[in-house]
């Protein structure tokens, strides 16, 4: 992320959590263009036609209607053009089975949504620092 700001796609159905991400990004001065999809189906549509260039980062919730995070991830990993996008799961699910499924589909990280907004800002700060180290 050295010279240009990559696109980021947020796949999340809860409007409060979407606002949380936007606010935390703003607090942390993250200026990357942020696209939002409400579920896996919408996300795939946006990836096929709307988001240009393709995002290098996807922030993914697990529990969503129509197509949940794991199902979306399976489809993503099977698509030649999309399969190497870095995915960071952000969810309330603490179930080991979800973690296993996510890591088996090679997410770059699995993050539990913290209870307080302050903790969330701090987690996003850590993510930002990590993203800045990565070549995408």
């Amino acid at each position: 992320m050295t010279h240009r700001l990559v696109n980021i796609l947020l796949v999340e159905d809860d409007e409060i959590d979407v606002m949380n991400v936007k606010r935390a990004f703003s607090k942390n001065n993250i200026k990357n263009p942020l696209f939002v999809a409400g579920n896996g189906v919408e996300a795939l549509e946006m990836l096929k036609s709307v988001i240009i260039p393709l995002p290098r980062i996807i922030i993914l919730d697990i529990n969503m209607p129509k197509m949940n995070g794991i199902e979306f991830l399976k489809v993503l990993r099977e698509d030649e053009k999309l399969k190497n996008i870095s995915v960071f799961v952000m969810t309330t699910s603490n179930e080991d089975s979800d973690k296993i499924d996510a890591y088996n589909l090679n997410v770059a990280g699995y993050i539990l949504k913290p209870l307080s907004f302050e903790k969330f800002i701090s987690s996003v700060a850590t993510l930002k620092n990590f993203w800045q180290l990565c070549e995408m």
Binding site: D14, I16, M19, N20, R23, T92, L115, S116, F117, E118
Partner: protein, 242 residues
């Protein structure tokens, strides 16, 4: 209908009721958390947008709002925990009793002015039991002893005696004790002797401990000490059949 049939019906009904209860508690504590968390988040955003120059009354009210929602969330968590007492962390493994007690003490907050007096009368320091459950009970009682203490310097006395069939464990303190009028209420979930504004706690520790002790076949008693502090005594059977 004969005895056997009606007995079977009762058993089936009991199983169905238990399942319904568990589902209810899970939904109440799990699904309700989402809008609760949203309320805390939104309150934080508004506070944030108002900035520190805002009317102090408004900021105070938002603080109260958030505090009450956090309390709500803690109560949900307590409900969830009470309902899952016999479902999670039910492994039997070898426990070293003095080590378990020390581990519990290490996990306590605010133990700076606390002196622990520990006595063991054990034939064997080790035993095979539901380690996580015993740990929970010990921790809750110790935590209560400290949290509800009213003096600068606090004394907590732990005594564990091994009998043939069980362990007798008592945890006492030189705190304010529990008034006689409310002694029968203390095992109810969410009950606290003082208002929750005075001591911030959900009041579920004793309920959970009592449920665990009953589950393993023991009994938990309260009695005042000589200095009018609190004494909690329970027996923990060596053989646990659930």
């Amino acid at each position: 209908m004969d005895m056997k049939e009606s007995e079977n019906n009762c058993r089936e009904e009991l199983i169905a009721l238990k399942k319904e209860y568990e589902e209810f508690v899970y939904i109440v504590s799990h699904d309700i958390k989402t809008p609760m968390r949203a309320i805390i988040n939104i309150a934080t955003w508004i506070e944030d947008d108002l900035g520190s120059n805002a009317n102090q009354d408004i900021l105070d009210n938002f603080s109260l709002l958030k505090n009450r929602v956090v309390r709500l969330e803690n109560m949900m968590n307590a409900l969830l925990e009470v309902s899952r007492v016999d479902k999670t962390k039910m492994e039997l493994y070898e426990v070293n009793i003095p080590k378990l007690v020390n581990d519990c003490i290490k996990m306590l907050d605010n133990k700076s002015n606390v002196e622990f007096h520990i006595t063991y009368h054990l034939k064997d320091e080790n035993c095979i039991t539901l380690g996580k459950k015993l740990e929970k009970v010990l921790f809750s009682l110790l935590d209560n002893a400290i949290r509800f203490h009213d003096k600068e310097k606090k004394n907590v006395i732990i005594e564990i005696t091994e009998n043939d069939a069980d362990y007798e464990i008592s945890i006492s303190d030189d705190g304010p004790g529990i008034p006689e009028e409310v002694r029968d209420k203390i095992f109810s979930i969410f009950y606290t002797v003082n208002s929750k504004d005075v001591v911030d706690t959900t009041g579920a520790g004793l309920t959970i401990s009592n449920k665990i002790i009953k589950m393993v076949g023991g009994k938990l008693h309260y009695a005042p000490t000589v200095s009018n502090g609190s004494l909690f005594k329970f027996n923990w059977p060596k053989t646990i059949s659930i």
